[in-house]
Structure formats: structure tokens, C-alpha cells
Point group: C2
Chain length 274, copies 2
């Protein structure tokens, strides 16, 4: 018997016409009022990866969450708007029929893919020296939120506060993480993992205020071959807030594999209340 990994089930897309797919939201990756943002990001990457005209591998991805998806069918549009010698520019959108029967945009996105050649390379953001994953406690999924059960997370520092007492602390989190069950890393999984960090405002204020990502950008620094080498190993994720101001904060994040390669960097701007 072959079991399909929950991520692969969630990423299934049916071609409708050139550049148009139909997908289904996945209960396994459900968040509070819609899908986990990371699964939407992963689905957009999947649509580009599947496209017959794709040139190269993902280099950058920006996803704008315009409105929550409701459970059920969605339409994904993907267009290669310009193909250069070594880069290709894509625009994407997710649409859904709303309560009034109208087709509305829930998500917009842009992707750049690129053919990479070997050049001088160097990391200016070396992996922090931290305790290995095996020596750290796995956190129990919480809040009755289903998608959290799709990930194994072992915090090094900056876990959710134990007491929601409003004490101000640092907004830095570091955690080892991977898909649960383990699944060989690819660009889709990496895009989703870039969005697993709980809202920095919860940590900074030790208060669980309503919060949700408005826009996320992921820069991919690894090749498919490097992701394959990473396999089912853990990634070290690090996230930190920069500015919390009048209803929005931004977050900067880095994801290394266990060998210390910086596979992706990511940034997002997040809405919060109060």
C-alpha cells in the first residue's frame, strides 16, 4: 500500500486549460479561518513547477493574501509573462466563487524562476550554533489548529510564551523543523516552511492578538539538487520582527539545513489587531 504524503495530497492540481488549474483546499492544512498561508504558497510554487514552459528553478516568490479561501474548490491561474535567457517572470492568482456567486481573487503572486550557473558563492549569514534537534523537546501542536500537526517543531529559543502575561521579551525565534511525516525537501515544502513561524507580535507582547500574513516573499538560494541532499533532515528556522507599528509588523526569516546551508530567506508583513 502506498500512502500519499499529506503535502502531496494538498498540492494536487487538475489542469483545466493552459495556465489554469483547479484545486481543493486541504482540511489537513487548515488554519483558523482559511488554509495555512504556507500551503497556499506551496500550491503556487507547484503550479509553476508543473508548467510545461517553465525555465529553471524558483528564485523568488511573493504571495499576497487578499482574502481567506473558503473550504472547497479554487481556481489557480499561472502565466509566464516574460522569458529571458536565464530568468522567467510569472504572475499568478487564486480565485474562488464567493457567497454571492461571484468569482473573486483571494490571492495574487509573482514568481521568478532562473537557470543558475556555478559562480563565486559565500554566506554572510552563517547558521547560528545551536543545540541539535535530537536534544530538544518537540512542541505539541496547539490552538486546535490542524496544520500545526503537519509539522514537527523543536524550538531552540523563542517558543510561545508559557504565561500570556503581556511581558515584553525578544521577538527572535529559532527552531528545528520538518514535515510530519518526514518528506524529502523540495521547493514547495520549502516555501511552506518559510511561513510556519507564529506571529512575532504574540512573542513580543506575550499576547495572542488576532494576526495574519498580508504578504510574504521567499528568496530561494538552493538548487533542486541541494534540496535533494537535504532529504528528510531538519531545517533550522530563525525569525525576528523588525518594526511593529499601527496594525502591521514585518518579520525577517532564514532557513538553513542541518549541514549549515542557507536554503532560503524570507520576509513578511503581518496584520495584527489592537
Amino acid at each position: 500500500m502506498t500512502m500519499t504524503h499529506p503535502l502531496d495530497s494538498a498540492l494536487q492540481l487538475q489542469p483545466v486549460s493552459p495556465g489554469q488549474y483547479e484545486g481543493q483546499t486541504s482540511p489537513g492544512y487548515w488554519n483558523m479561518v482559511g488554509p495555512f498561508g504556507g500551503i497556499t504558497a506551496a500550491t503556487l510554487v507547484k503550479a509553476v513547477m508543473d508548467h510545461p514552459q517553465r525555465l529553471g528553478e524558483p528564485l523568488s516568490l511573493t504571495v499576497n493574501y487578499a482574502g481567506a479561501l473558503t473550504a472547497g474548490t479554487f481556481t489557480l491561474q499561472v502565466t509566464p509573462v516574460r522569458t529571458n535567457r536565464s530568468t522567467q517572470h510569472w504572475t499568478l492568482s487564486v480565485l474562488q466563487v464567493d457567497g454571492e456567486g461571484e468569482l473573486v481573487v483571494t490571492t495574487t503572486a509573482t514568481v521568478v524562476t532562473a537557470v543558475r550557473r556555478e559562480t563565486w558563492s559565500m554566506s554572510d549569514e552563517p547558521m547560528p550554533e545551536v543545540v541539535p534537534p535530537g536534544e530538544l523537546q518537540r512542541i505539541a501542536p496547539g490552538f486546535g489548529v490542524e496544520w500545526l500537526s503537519r509539522y514537527e517543531m523543536r524550538p531552540v529559543q523563542g517558543a510561545l510564551p508559557k504565561d500570556w502575561d503581556g511581558a515584553v521579551s525578544s521577538s527572535l525565534s529559532q527552531l528545528w523543523m520538518r514535515d510530519d511525516p518526514p518528506r524529502p525537501l523540495d521547493f514547495c515544502a520549502l516555501a511552506a516552511l518559510a511561513d510556519v513561524f507564529f506571529p512575532r507580535v504574540w512573542l513580543r507582547r506575550a499576547r495572542r492578538v488576532p494576526a495574519g500574513t498580508v504578504s510574504i516573499t521567499v528568496y530561494f538560494h538552493a538548487s533542486q539538487a541541494q534540496l535533494q541532499t537535504t532529504g528528510t533532515g531538519y531545517l533550522l528556522g530563525q525569525a525576528r520582527g523588525q518594526e511593529f507599528r499601527n496594525g502591521f509588523f514585518d518579520q525577517t526569516a532564514q532557513l538553513w539545513n542541518e549541514a549549515g546551508y542557507l536554503l532560503a530567506t524570507s520576509h513578511q508583513i503581518v496584520y495584527f489587531k489592537e
Copy 2:
């Protein structure tokens, strides 16, 4: 006699039809093989600011440079794809007729605007303590590149290497900067200023290899009122590379005003050769 500021001249857009403008590339902001990326970013922000259906102020901006603009006329398309209660999602593109007479996409972009309410606020990225702008030398514009003359830049650290000797140093730059001549700060000017940093790879390698921005994202943390308070004062810009790998590197940047407010954070992914 009233003089129009070069930035305002460059940002002039003629409405053609709803959501469509015609603009002209500006010799004053010319880079090596096309316009300075920052002026394109500023023009996209201008199109949103001018749009009669705009809700709120810019919150995030992503610009993908698909191909260099050639000198002359361009078409800018701007669409508010979804308007929520307090956020609005925009897609934009710049098009130009190419050498074969075909209309091609040179730039794609997304913008989110938002109505902001006063909330708990805090900075997790305080302005570094640096020497004030008046005590620092202004750098002479170089490379025969016109747009550099539109900015006053006073480096604190991480100026261009004096000797292009291939020595590896840090990729951190800090500089005071503003429009030249000084111009009251607005969202357009701020978007452009987020892109003034020379390629981190030049600093890291002390080698001027060919390089160009592929995609930039700017998160705006300030309101129009805060920008007005900043006036014609200097901004402290800070930029640092994170990962340089196989033809591309990313850069993370922060822009504070002299009062120490973090007005914007920015990230970009940049192509480089060799």
C-alpha cells in the same frame, strides 16, 4: 519661476484610460542599461497614489524587473484586484513596444495599501548609533551613471572599496542619504531610496562584476504624516547581504529618519555574474 523637482518630473504619468497611464523614461534617473530600478518602483507607487479608487496608504510593494526599459514611452497598467475593509490589493505592470514592434512586459508589481489605526507599536530594530550626516563626507557620484547625481549620500561605513583588489570584507553598508536637491519625503521618494544601495557583491568581493536587481520588496512602516514630519531630512540607510550563491544574492535593508523612526524595511534579490 517654479522649478519642478527632477523626481516629480520623472514621475509624471498621463492617464490614457481607467487604470492605464503613459509615462516617459527620465534621462535624469538613467542607470547603465535602463532606468534606475528605484525610479521604476517610485513610478509604480505614484500610479497607485493617483488612482481614484485607492484605499489607505502603501503598506507593501514588490517589483519584479523582467527586462530593461528602453529610453522613451512606456505604458503602466494598475488594477485594484480586491478591496477589503482596511486593505486593498493591486497588480501592476509596465509595458513597452520592443524592437520588433511587439508590446512586451518589462516590469510586474504588486502593491498592498492599508488604512492604519493606532495600536501598540514597538521597534525591534533600533537605529544604530552613528556619526551625524553633517560630520561625514559626501561621496562624489561615479561610474558616469546619471541617477547617482540625484542623491546626496554620506557613508558611515561600507562605502565602495577604494581598491578593487578582490579582498573579501563585510557586506554591511550604512549611509545618510536624501534626494538632491532636497525634497519633502513621500512614499514615492521612499520607495526609490530603498533601492539606492550599490550591489552588495561589489562590497563583499571588492570587484565590480555585472549585477542587477531581479526583484525588490519594500514594507512601509510610516504614515504619510510621519513622512511629512521627516520633510527634507536625511534617512539612515543600512543594507547587508545574506547569501551569495550561483549567480544571485539577496540583500536586507532598513531606512530610518533622523529622529530614529524605522520608515521602511526592504529586501531584494540580485543577479550577478561570474
